[in-house]
Amino acid sequence: MRTDQPDHRLAIVGGGVMGTNIATLATGYGIPVTLVDISETALAKARTTIAQKSRHAQLMGTLPPDVPRGELMTSTSMRDVADATTVIEAVTELPETKAQVLAEASAVVRPGTTLISNTSCIPIDEMAASVSRADELVGVHFMNPSYLIKMVEVIQGPRTSEATMSSVTGLLTAMGRQALIVRDSPGFVINRLLHPLINSAAMLVEEGVASVEVVDGMLEGCLGHSTGPLRTADLIGLDNLVDSLNVLYERRRDESCRPCELLLAKVRDGDLGRKTGRGFYDYGKVAS
């Protein structure tokens, strides 16, 4: 029934990089969005960011030109997600934070509301323990920028129902995305491969084996990657990357996932990547 439901009403919790990405994408496809964050200051900043990202999407021609933009509402109260058909959590990549947000959201929505975690590494079934109805929770790993990259990684947890999978597929189709479905595991597919690669790339710079530009240049020029691992790290956000590496390391004990000192130092210095204007590269000013 829900797959045929054209009236999507999306609630997004967390107005950071990914929350604003997904809000830009959804409103660009005409879907109304309620964005929830902890303060009016954070919401005002998110509104500005969404306006900038909408311009970026228009520049790149990645949103349908003839669809009226969906309304963007903002709130500091989790109660305002109650009327949504789908809730997406896009908060910090810390298991306890995500669990708390999902528990609060699941307590106020109606049964049958799809709950999506935009986690990049945390197993879905770990978070399912915190929600009222585990079968309604699914992972969707949107890429960054979500409005430019069509493919998304969808994670079906062991308790995620087929009805929920149908619902999420319907929503993603309505937003012009294509889904590749994987089973639950720390880091899933993309970040189990990508995060150790980025960490190793940072280690090579730390050890003085090669410069940032040379490491990225190798992957781009020799292996055909469109963006090198360290430029990708800047796009992800180095704080988020360290959090995700910690999630992977704690669960898999894979040494290649233990955040290297250079990464940790950059996070300590506040050089978090594009969002702060500097990471492995200097962007001159805070990039939109």
């Binding site: 900038q52 311009r55 970026h56 228009q58 520049l59 790149m60 021609g61 920028p145 430019l148 963006t227 796009l235 594009r274 962007y283 001159g284 990039a287 939109s288």
Partner: protein, 96 residues
């Protein structure tokens, strides 16, 4: 530099020269005025938006509506034409 540029007449040569210099610094490669920056892989989609904001701030213009399209930013020539057209439009509006 911004205030001086907005106060004096802006020529195609000046815009082109400033853009070539800006790009050479940012992409660390000399570019040609008619080189397709995106096709050549020199400029990413993220940098494209920075180019838009750079031109808006440098020349006190607003790139909106149908002008906000990648074709206007593909080459230094295209960006120069856009800047001059939008500057002329705002000058005309200001003189009314």
């Amino acid at each position: 530099m911004t205030s001086e540029q907005t106060m004096t007449a802006i020529t195609a040569e000046a815009v082109e020269e400033a853009l070539l210099s800006f790009l050479a610094e940012r992409v660390k490669t000399a570019v040609e005025p008619d080189q397709d920056l995106f096709k050549s892989g020199l400029v990413s989609s993220m940098f494209a938006m920075q180019l838009v904001v750079h031109l808006e701030e440098q020349y006190d213009i607003a790139v909106i509506g149908p002008d906000l399209t990648l074709n206007n930013f593909r080459t230094v020539h295209a960006m120069t034409s856009l800047v001059l057209r939008l500057r002329n439009a705002s000058d005309t509006a200001g003189n009314v």
